[in-house]
Symmetry: C2
């Protein structure tokens, strides 16, 4: 095992110097998952910040297919890194707080052993003799690197796209080595569509006459056209339709004058030609073949059951982030993973960031205020010191995000939850109620919220929040998975009332529902005497035409509903929130808010 | 000008025999839009059914990039056509009623003059000497064919994808030659994303060493790899992510054993390899280059203004159909066209068919019940004989589709519309009210409806219906574009009340709004005396938890709303629908339904 500071580009094809990279060589044979082996493996990596005394602040960043160890610049004079906006002093992955490690991948061409490295047996590059590798092999090597650095357990592993695949694999293969995994724009396996694009790219390389069966290193020309075609295809899939439109529509027929031998009729054509050619200058075709095949073979499971079984090995806390316009790794794939983690009662937060940037969104500044802050909050939660309340913004009044104030009914809901119960809060907002529940030492506390900003607010407060639309149901959750499900002052904003109530009764042993009572005395009067739609302070303060409330019911209506839907009422409480008192005398007339404890049995 | 029955494949590269194809040769020189010319042009075409005596039943079907003249089989023994499910006796384009013509495209390789045809000057195939062509050139040739057939004016021109481009061009270039255009899965121009895929495909051909600058016809091998790569890319873009998942997920690692020299690791790979190779056997690479470039250059306008200016030349009636999962020609592009047609006061119907099949949906049976019936109804409307009421289904209760019954308030709404006024009905359902309005000889009558089935129902009735969600606004419509806008018994089902009312007041000189009155005596009593959410017959017959109605207002509330929003009330009527009487005494108490005539000024 030899470590040296990386100085020359001898081992690296098409490399610009990586001034701060280090290498370590592990003697082999290194046995690989698919049966191959390598006599030895060299890893090139870079580190940032300082490892603390108890070695508890290490964050491993895994790069995607065309990345390298240079995740960020080491100082102002250094070359730009590929994730400078995320990694650095004061950045979301704050190198002032965390010790960041980023290795080049096994199979790559930027210093770590790959097809362009010298095969000691022949003295020539491996070429197609380089054995097939898997994401598991890459991650096993990450493990060896951590051993070498004396790090037993990472605070976190972070990765996007194929970097996400590595992070997911680390969590499931080496559960004791990582406290938290943040996986961005990734998936449990490629969609058939994404796989198809990779296949076409590899075919373009494979059938390039200059490929020479992979032994092109001593030839005057490699499979440059094939690799450029593969990169062009890839590039399109990394962008969204919207972002391409933004970039190219206005200059459609005004291509840039680039010196490439590809079609240059359209602006998007000159761009792709240039990108393709630039990639050929810095990347090795065999590396591309080997890495894209490893990505295509990556498969954590094709069914919810398989996925849950894979994730069952993990012990970490999770942050899953998808991007709405990412069609290569579509958001539903992240939701599949979240659902599998939920099935395992794993601690997981999820957000589908509204973005126009497609798959590349996690590399771009456009949505950094969302995904960057989610990362920052998640890492802080892993250290046990949540960042706390974000600056209080105007309360959101979206359909599933009624603003929670401290009130008498809140205290009663918290009291109604059985000691030690696991709790799911539907429409949890920024987690005001949930945080109070958690402070009572409930062992498992999860919130569901639709609004992206509120999700972030909840995670800032140290909670596990899953972004979801209640109207879509609670498919992720198993029958009776929670002791107690809360639906606090949200019922009246839900379109599919029967669906949501049925789902919460399925998922919770007991459910606590609170809602405003439309038959409250003052409201009755308003309609009966003034002939106007009822309106009141608090939840009913809106006008008929702009209220988030779209369902109007009385306590008596809800009692009828429970009876007709075979719902058992365990307890019902009523309040006059204006007077901040509990109401026992004729609640349907005298109370403006009701709390029901119900269950299916 | 010579016509002969097409017998041999002499002029056709890679052709299987087209038994019923005919050809006609037009002597040139044929001058082309981009400056080139051809000494003569041969068109291969097929016809179906019989031209009627007044030559008013001709339907031109335009094929997409890889199609040909064989749109359907001519009899049971004939080879399958590419649109057998749509064209034939009793089919949506009923060859028992219509005379169907389908020509192979200029630039193609299935009998019509293209790059593989013999250049009379050299005695060899044109190859890359074939001049650049446009969709306009293709359509000009369609015009010559129609002249040859003695058809002055088509009943309709129908096309999907690039076939749609031709149909749109015919309507705008030769407005007197077509009564109706049905354009499916098409666009005013390609998105930059779609363009990018074409560029990569052409690069794969162009840089294939066997391309030989396009003069490969006398070489042992043509650019087969490049063409196959281009086809594979194309094929992926024709399918949706969902349909590929359905096709390949289950057999991911079980490729079919096909004899192709492409990667066969995955099932999707063996499929694409096979498709690529099959295409090479039947298609000419230069044709692909020429046709895809013509498609990429097609551009009816990049802004709403440009598009509207292009469409201003057209005189026909329109049916625009998009497919929800089509990401190559995304639905928003069809909506852009519909909006431009609306701006021109053109007669247009639009439906975005909910489909899992992607761009190819218009060729597949899955959604035929939608797009096929839309086509059938549209063609019938063009003959002046609408198919009439579809079998009455259960009324839909979606947010913008309250079921209309014949009632006193309907009669009053029809009476309230000024004579000859142009009328827009928001949430028109199956067009029950609108049809009655139309019968009063209003010159322009348009309906908006969200539910796909109801849209079809309205078109069956001979109406122009545009599928749209009212909550998204009326962006397509200009200020004061309609004399009268109707919002009949729909207000209470709209979430964004202020948005929709503002929009209707912007678009209509006058607006007629009807809604149920929540302060009706019986409803007041229900809340005041029984303590239950008001419910009644008719529109308010639903339960609080499953009602399509999500806004509750009284007549007094609406009066207040008008005052606070600077809305002028011209007239207000009230009804007791149970008694079927008009109410003048204290309507806010005695009426259960109100009609307001309002305007912004």
């Amino acid at each position: 095992m030899v470590e040296k500071v990386f100085e020359s580009s001898d081992d690296v094809r098409h490399a610009t110097p990586l001034k701060y990279a280090r290498t370590v060589t592990f003697d082999g044979p290194v046995r690989l998952e698919l049966g191959g082996q390598l006599p030895s493996v060299t890893v090139t990596f870079e580190t940032y910040g300082h490892l603390n005394a108890d070695k508890s602040n290490a964050v491993l960043v895994c790069h995607a297919i065309s990345g390298d160890s240079h995740v960020a610049k080491h100082n102002d004079a250094d070359d730009p890194g590929w994730w400078d906006i995320v990694v650095g002093p004061g950045k979301p992955i704050d190198t002032g707080r965390y010790f960041v490690i980023c290795p080049n991948l096994l199979g790559g061409c930027r210093g770590t052993t790959g097809p362009s490295s010298t095969n000691p047996k022949t003295g020539k590059p491996y070429g197609r003799d380089f054995p097939a590798i898997t994401v598991g092999d890459m991650v096993a090597l990450h493990g060896q690197l951590l051993d070498h650095l004396g790090i037993q357990r990472l605070l976190a592993c972070v990765g996007g796209s194929m970097g996400g695949h590595q992070a997911l694999t680390l969590a499931t293969r080496f559960p004791d080595r990582v406290a938290g995994v943040a996986a961005l724009a990734t998936s449990p396996r490629l969609t058939s569509q994404a796989l198809a694009f990779d296949v076409v790219g590899r075919n373009a390389i494979l059938r390039d006459p200059h490929y020479h069966g992979g032994q092109y290193y001593d030839k005057p020309t490699g499979p440059n056209v094939g690799l450029a075609i593969a990169r062009m295809i890839g590039h399109i899939t990394y962008l969204s339709q919207e972002s391409m439109s933004q970039k190219f529509d206005a200059t459609r027929l005004q291509p840039r004058d680039v010196a490439v031998e590809f079609e240059k009729k359209f602006s998007v054509g000159s761009y792709l030609g240039y990108q393709g050619q630039k990639f050929v200058e810095r990347f090795d075709a065999n590396s591309y073949m080997v890495l894209s095949m490893a990505m295509d073979l990556f498969d954590l499971g094709g069914t919810p059951q398989e996925l849950a079984a894979t994730f069952a090995h993990a012990k970490c806390r999770w942050l899953i982030i998808s991007f709405s316009s990412d069609w290569l790794f579509p958001p539903f794939q992240s939701r599949d993973m979240v659902n599998a983690l939920i099935a395992n009662n794993a601690a997981v937060s999820y957000c589908n960031v509204q973005s126009r940037c497609g798959h590349d969104a996690f590399l771009l500044p456009d949505d950094l205020a969302s995904y960057g802050e989610l990362l920052r909050a998640f890492l802080a939660n892993l250290t046990g010191k949540p960042l706390g309340d974000v600056v209080e913004e105007k309360p959101s009044h979206g359909p599933t995000s009624i603003f929670h104030k401290r009130r008498v009914d809140y205290d009663r809901i918290v009291e109604l939850i059985p000691p030690g119960a696991s709790v799911l809060d539907l429409g949890c907002g920024r987690g005001g109620l949930l945080r109070r529940v958690k402070q009572k030492k409930h062992h498992r506390v999860v919130g569901i919220e639709l609004d992206e900003k509120l999700v972030l607010g909840g995670i800032y407060r140290g909670l596990d929040i899953i972004q979801a639309d209640l109207n879509q149901g609670l498919v992720a959750f198993a029958d009776k998975q929670f002791d107690c499900v809360l639906l606090s002052q949200t019922l009246q904003a839900i379109y599919d009332v029967e669906g949501v109530i049925n789902e919460m009764l399925r998922v919770g042993r007991q459910c606590i529902v609170s809602f405003p009572n439309m038959a409250y005395r003052d409201l009755r009067k308003m309609l009966a005497e003034q002939g106007r739609a009822p309106k009141a302070a608090g939840l009913l303060r809106f006008e008929w035409y702009n209220s988030p409330n779209i369902r109007f019911l009385s306590i008596a209506d809800f009692e009828d509903f429970c009876q007709s839907h075979n719902i058992r009422i365990h307890k019902q409480l009523a309040f006059n929130t204006e007077e901040d008192t509990e109401v026992t005398d004729n609640p349907n007339l005298n109370a403006d808010l009701a709390i029901f404890v119900i269950s299916r049995d």
